[in-house]
C-alpha cells in the first residue's frame, strides 16, 4: 500500500449510561441506537458493508448473545460480520484495517453489555492468568488499586491529586447528558468518600454502568455524502503488553506510550500538545495520569489540550463501550455535536481505548476535521 486511505467517523449514537436499565435487554437497548446512527447518516442498513461488535457473552451471561445482536444490527441480507470480545473501539480499529485493505467502504461498529445482570468483578477476574493471579480473586478494581499505589510511589502523587482529577472529570460530566455521574463534587468532598479499594476512593471511580453504542465509519468518497462534518482518522495504533502484572512496571504503561508515538507519527503530528482535546479510557485518576504521561503531557492540571471534556470514564465506564464512546465523543467535538461540552474551535482530537487489567492493551486514534492524505 503506497498511501493510506482516508476513513472517517460519520455517525455516533449512544444510550445514556445508567447503573441498571430495569426494562430492556441488551438487544432492546441497542436497536434504537442503531436506528439513530443510521438516520444521522441519512442511510438505511443496506448502505453498510461490514458490521462488527464489541461485547462479551460472559458479561451478559447469555450464550451466543453476540449472534442475537445481529438481528438488531440489521444484518439482512447477510454481510461481512465479526465480533470482538473487547471494547468496541478495538472493533472500530478492525473495521479501519479492513477499509485500508479495500474490503469495505462503510462499517457499523456497536458495543453493548448489561453489566448490571452479572458481577463484572468476577467476570473480569478471568482475564488474569489462571495459575497465580485469578485464584487470588483480583478484579479490575483491586488491580487498578495496585496500579494506583505503584504510580503514587513513583511519582509522589497524593490522595489530594487523585481527588482533584476526579473532581475535574465530574465537573465536565455535568455538561454531558450521556454521563452516568452527573453531580459535580469538590475535591475535598470526594476525599471524604470511603475507600473502594485503597488508595482508590468511591468518589474516584465510576460505578458499574451499562449502555448501548453504535458508531458508523466510512471511507473517502462515501463519508462526505453521509456526514456534513466527518471526523477523519489521521493516525491509529494499538499495542499490548504482558498479561502478568508482576512482569511490568505498573506505574507506567509501555504499550500506551509506544502506541501513542506510532499513532501521532502516522497523523504527522510532533506531539499530543498539537491537538485540541483528548478523551481517555481512564477508569481511575492514576490511569489518567499514567496515560497523560504516555502522551508526554503534564500528569495533572487543566489547559490545552482539554482532557476529557465529556467527563471521561470516571463519570461513566460501561464495560465493552468505554473506548468506543471516547471515539464518539471526539467525533461529537469535531463535528459540532458536543453541545455544552464543546471545546471551542476543536480541529484535532485524540481518543483512547484500553483493554485488560492495568492498561494492558492500549489503542489510540488521532482525528481531525481535515482529510489527512490528499
Amino acid at each position: 500500500m503506497t498511501q493510506l486511505r482516508n476513513v472517517a467517523v460519520v455517525g455516533f449514537a449512544q444510550a445514556p449510561i445508567v447503573a441498571h436499565d430495569p426494562h430492556r435487554m441488551a438487544n432492546e437497548m441497542l436497536y434504537p441506537v442503531v436506528r439513530e446512527a443510521l438516520a444521522q447518516c441519512g442511510v438505511e442498513r443496506d448502505a453498510i458493508d461490514y458490521q462488527t461488535a464489541g461485547s462479551a457473552d460472559y458479561i451478559d451471561g447469555r450464550p451466543f448473545g453476540f449472534v442475537a445482536a445481529l438481528d438488531v444490527m440489521g444484518t439482512w441480507p447477510p454481510r461481512q460480520d465479526s465480533h470482538l470480545e473487547m471494547d468496541a473501539a478495538f472493533a472500530a480499529h478492525y473495521a479501519w484495517i479492513r477499509m485500508q485493505a479495500g474490503e469495505c467502504d462503510t462499517a457499523m461498529v456497536v458495543g453493548y453489555g448489561k453489566v448490571s445482570e452479572g458481577q463484572p468483578e468476577r467476570v473480569l477476574n478471568l482475564q488474569l492468568d489462571p495459575y497465580y493471579l485469578a485464584p487470588l480473586g483480583l478484579g479490575p478494581l483491586s488491580t487498578a488499586a495496585l496500579q494506583a499505589s505503584a504510580y503514587m510511589a513513583r511519582s509522589g502523587a497524593t490522595d489530594a491529586d487523585f481527588a482533584a482529577c476526579a473532581a475535574r472529570n465530574r465537573a465536565a460530566a455535568a455538561r454531558n447528558p450521556h454521563a452516568q455521574v452527573r453531580d459535580p463534587a469538590p475535591a475535598a468532598a470526594l476525599q471524604q468518600t470511603p475507600w473502594a479499594v485503597e488508595p482508590l476512593r468511591q468518589g474516584y471511580v465510576a460505578p458499574v454502568g451499562e449502555s448501548a453504542v453504535c458508531l458508523i465509519l466510512a471511507a473517502e468518497g462515501r463519508a462526505e455524502a453521509m456526514c456534513r462534518a466527518p471526523a477523519w482518522i489521521h493516525g491509529v495504533d494499538q499495542r499490548a503488553e504482558l498479561q502478568s502484572l508482576g512482569a511490568r512496571d505498573l506505574s507506567r504503561s509501555a504499550s500506551a506510550t509506544l502506541a501513542a508515538e506510532k499513532a501521532l507519527a502516522m497523523a504527522g503530528l510532533g506531539s499530543a500538545a498539537d491537538v485540541d482535546l483528548v478523551e481517555l479510557s481512564a477508569a481511575t485518576p492514576a490511569e489518567e495520569m499514567i496515560l497523560r504521561e504516555s502522551l508526554r503531557l503534564p500528569a495533572q492540571g487543566d489547559g490545552r489540550p482539554a482532557i476529557n471534556p465529556s467527563g471521561g470514564a470516571i463519570a461513566g465506564n460501561p464495560i465493552m463501550m468505554t473506548g468506543l464512546i471516547r471515539l464518539g465523543e471526539a467525533f461529537r467535538q469535531l463535528s459540532g455535536g458536543a453541545g455544552e461540552a464543546a471545546v471551542p474551535n476543536a480541529r484535532r482530537a485524540i481518543a483512547h481505548a484500553a483493554q485488560g487489567h492495568c492498561l494492558q492493551q492500549n489503542l489510540w486514534f488521532v482525528l481531525g476535521r481535515e482529510r489527512r492524505w490528499s
Binding site: 430492556r24 435487554m25 432492546e28 436497536y31 460472559y58 440489521g74 445482570e117 452479572g118 485464584p135
Partner: protein, 166 residues
C-alpha cells in the same frame, strides 16, 4: 515439607462460578405474562405485518420495529421434528419424545415444543397440535407453563400452508 510430585503437573482444575440476575426485558416480559393467561404473545412487523413469537424487538428481515402485539391461541402445525432419546434436565418428558418446530396459527415463525400423548412414529409434518398447559392457579408466567403439545386429531395441514414458516 511436602515431597515434590514425581509426575509433572499436567493441568490445574479451575472452577468458575458466575452468578447472574436477568431481567426479562419488555418484550419477553409480555410473553411471560401472556403464558399465565394461556396465550402466546407475538410481535408484529410494522412494515410487513409478519408476526414473530416469541416477540422480537424488530423484524430481522425488514428491520422495521415491532410495535404491536398479538395474542395467539396455543394451536398450530408441526413443520419439522426429530425424535429425542436423551432426557432434558428439569423436564418430566417420557422418552423417547419428539422435539418439533410448531408454527402457531397466526404466527410467521415457529417455536420449539415437545410433542407427547402420541407414539413418536405417528408424528409427521403437517400434524395439527395444541398446547397442554399447567392447570389454572399453577401457572406462574414462565415458559414451563406449557407442559408440551399434543395432537388435536384434526386433518393435517397442507404443505403450502406452512412451508414458509419452517
Amino acid at each position: 515439607m511436602q515431597e515434590p510430585p514425581k509426575e509433572p503437573v499436567k493441568y490445574v482444575e479451575a472452577n468458575v462460578y458466575l452468578p447472574y440476575r436477568y431481567i426479562a426485558g419488555d418484550y419477553r416480559a409480555r410473553a411471560m405474562h401472556g403464558l399465565k393467561e394461556k396465550k402466546f404473545i407475538g410481535s408484529k412487523d410494522s412494515k410487513t405485518g409478519k408476526v414473530f413469537v416469541t416477540p422480537l424487538v424488530n423484524s430481522p428481515e425488514s428491520f422495521a420495529p415491532c410495535t404491536e402485539f398479538v395474542a395467539l391461541e396455543g394451536r398450530g402445525v408441526v413443520t419439522t421434528f426429530c425424535i429425542v432419546n436423551i432426557p432434558v434436565i428439569g423436564r418430566d418428558l417420557q422418552l423417547p419424545y419428539v422435539a418439533a418446530s410448531v408454527a402457531l396459527d397466526g404466527a410467521d415463525i415457529s417455536i420449539f415444543a415437545a410433542i407427547q400423548e402420541c407414539a413418536v412414529a405417528d408424528v409427521r409434518m403437517g400434524m395439527r397440535v395444541e398446547a397442554v398447559w399447567k392447570p389454572d392457579g399453577e401457572r406462574t408466567g414462565s415458559f414451563d407453563d406449557v407442559l408440551y403439545f399434543r395432537p388435536t386429531g384434526e386433518p393435517d395441514a397442507k404443505p403450502e400452508t406452512y412451508l414458509n414458516r419452517l
